[in-house]
Symmetry: C2
Subunit: 419 residues, 2 copies
């Protein structure tokens, strides 16, 4: 895979100076761990903020050693690399009063703090929002939890699979309900964490707009569960207004409340998805006379299982490319179901320019850089996808928090440009 060079556009033009990025000049202290908090801070870094991780001595934040265990680069997990590129790292023992004082001094200079400790921890350390706003009234403070600060689940472990599990999403994915015999299928990626990271980053940016207008910061909070519930806002709204429980669906439907043909279908050599399309048109294209006669859209809903079965029977008789040609010609909305290797091999993936290679300088002078291939921001700013040549920092790469004054005097180790 040819990783697009950081610092350039897809057609090779140079990226504008970092001052052009939206959050240039914004200082973020990332006190968070593992996923939602660090990725929120990463999104701010991608928009041009300077992000300094404050990590415990010796082991650093837990994401350095946990997650996708066994896949490492230069002493850190690849997950950590993916979530912390472009950041800096200082070490602080939050149980040491002198270190804590140094962290508080750093807070006085910061624009944003991101944290996702369990409820109560920051209060005990004196690093909660109410305390820190006294030090710095402009401070924007982002706080992440599993299930909010109150209620019966507030103290339960805030973990992605568990938040998905109580959100009903694994049942929604298969169009089933508890006891119906289907196997619930959670999303096989850290969806709740990622949604939360998006909401926190957006909330922080909105609060920075207010801070620019009023000079006053504030507190923004969300949780894993709130992020997944927000994803279900259409479904919840339908249900809260007396909509029926979505009926169980057959093996093809990809949405509990959408009529046929919306779903996925095996072909002779793969799988095909079809979104909204008139069933009678589909019947003519597939040469299936019963479907061709189904001109009443109500029947696309009421006879969904039968309709989908008939579509599946025809699609199984030829390969995916054949059906794409037939359906594309009639503007039926369809797509192949690619797996990871098929996606990575596709020209369309390369055309997005979503990958980059970042680098960490060798430990000793003369030692070669450590290179990590990873992804980039999903956003383009002024036509350019932000890129940063720096990999995730080594633990304490920018020193000890007690030397924060020197740290903030400049970014000497990064001033020389691309590593």
């Amino acid at each position: 895979m040819a990783a697009e060079q950081p610092g350039t556009t897809s057609d090779g033009a140079a990226v504008g100076a970092p001052d052009d990025l939206p959050l240039a000049g914004v200082l973020v202290l990332d006190l968070s761990q593992f996923l939602a908090g660090p990725v929120a801070a990463l999104r701010l870094a991608d928009m041009g903020a300077r992000v300094i991780k404050v990590e415990r001595p010796r082991t650093g934040e837990i994401g350095r050693t946990l997650a996708f265990a066994g896949r490492w680069r230069d002493g850190d997990t690849l997950s950590f690399h993916a979530m912390n590129r472009g950041k800096e790292s200082v070490v602080a023992d939050l149980k040491d009063p002198e270190d804590l004082a140094a962290v508080r001094a750093l807070v006085e200079r910061a624009d944003v703090v991101v944290q996702n400790f369990r409820p109560g921890v920051m209060e005990r350390l004196g690093l909660d929002f109410a305390t820190l706003r006294e030090l710095n009234p402009r401070l924007v403070y982002a706080s992440a939890s599993g299930y909010g600060a109150e209620g019966p689940w507030a103290s339960r472990p805030g973990q992605d699979l568990l938040a998905q599990s109580v959100s009903a999403l694994p049942w929604v994915n298969v169009g089933g309900v508890s006891g119906s015999g289907e196997r619930p299928v959670p999303v096989g990626l850290a969806l709740a964490d990622h949604l939360l990271s998006c909401h926190l980053a957006q909330g922080v940016c909105a609060m920075l707009v207010r801070a620019a207008r009023t000079g006053v910061g504030g507190l923004v909070e969300s949780s894993l569960l709130e992020g997944v519930l927000d994803l279900g806002s259409e479904l919840l709204t339908a249900r809260l207004n007396g909509g029926p429980v979505p009926p169980s669906v057959g093996p093809h439907s990809a949405h509990g409340w959408l009529p046929a043909p919306y779903g996925t279908y095996p072909t002779a050599d793969g799988h095909l998805s079809i979104a909204m399309a008139p069933v009678d048109l589909l019947g003519r294209l597939l040469d299936e006379p019963v479907l061709a006669g189904l001109t009443d859209p109500d029947e696309w809903w009421s006879r969904r299982a039968e309709v989908e079965k008939r579509i599946a029977d025809v699609l199984a008789t030829a390969g995916t490319d054949h059906w794409l040609t037939v359906l594309d010609a009639a503007d039926v909305w369809c797509a192949p179901l690619l797996d990871l290797e098929q996606l990575l091999a596709h020209d369309a993936f390369a055309a997005l320019g979503m990958t980059q290679e970042v680098r960490r300088p060798g430990r000793e002078p003369g030692e070669p850089d450590v290179a990590v291939a990873t992804v980039r921001s999903p956003l383009r700013v002024d036509g350019v996808r932000p890129g940063d040549p720096w990999a995730a920092p080594r633990l304490g790469e920018q020193g000890h928090v007690r030397d924060a004054a020197a740290l903030l005097a400049g970014r000497p180790d990064r001033a020389a440009g691309s590593p």
Copy 2:
């Protein structure tokens, strides 16, 4: 379901004045349709922005009549209600030069434009970023597409299921690859659209920070596919650095690259999820001697299928509540797999205060308000979840775009407070 009253905190305290919201004073023109664009604008509305939808005459934006077909309230789909609460609506025929001039006059006064037409449409109308920035250099312009502006997929239909299908996610969810015999399972909600709405809202807020600093707006872009790829950043980073293709997994695993017991398990009366946990501890808690003897974490990975089968065999012998009690007592991270009805009935859902009732005034004086139950922002700002009492607008509720000057002179219909 007791919907939390808008305008109050979960403990009943009054919400601060709208001026306290982060984006108070920000004017957003929502030229977008259906999901990603409108929900991005909704996120800005939740942060205090004034959002005016610009809609075609007679039919309005397509989301008024499409999606979750058959579930309506007062002439609009419930999906439309969910995505457009708190907005205003003016009518404009973008093919009419006079209307177009009025829209451009509105742009001069706006801070943000959100659009998700197919590539090329806005250029033909003269409403593209390059043209509008000449009218208003502070303008932030958010543009959404299916697969980016370039590459082999740029002109394919930008639709949620189709973007999921090419992203590899339906295979990742089941830990399978094309041809392996599993059935790929897409997320049964509009995940790609929702992720895109998050990225656009965050990008817009970041650009507003820059506009406050420099006086200059800019362009922010993303796509359905980029949002789903961003969700897969951990997986992609592992793969791009030479990680193996995730092996196919058994019927319990909820993550291709995490060891046992990470997954979902049927119990005697439901399902249970278990996240990361030591298998030997689990073996002791479940009284399963083989598992109790598995002290080598490498075996939790290499013997995953067998380990998960043994866990499943024991969990099937008693009910979910029994196992929750056993596992909670030992701090094993677990949760029940709730379906939608179980979630809605749970005190923890009510405690989040994620629901609200919004209202649309009756069509004639004296006619009762139309009430819609829906969800609220996943964010809390200064400890309070933003609430707005207004439902989605009727088409053209704020009049014709040619009367935009009068519209902007105030929000007379909303000045009286809660409907």
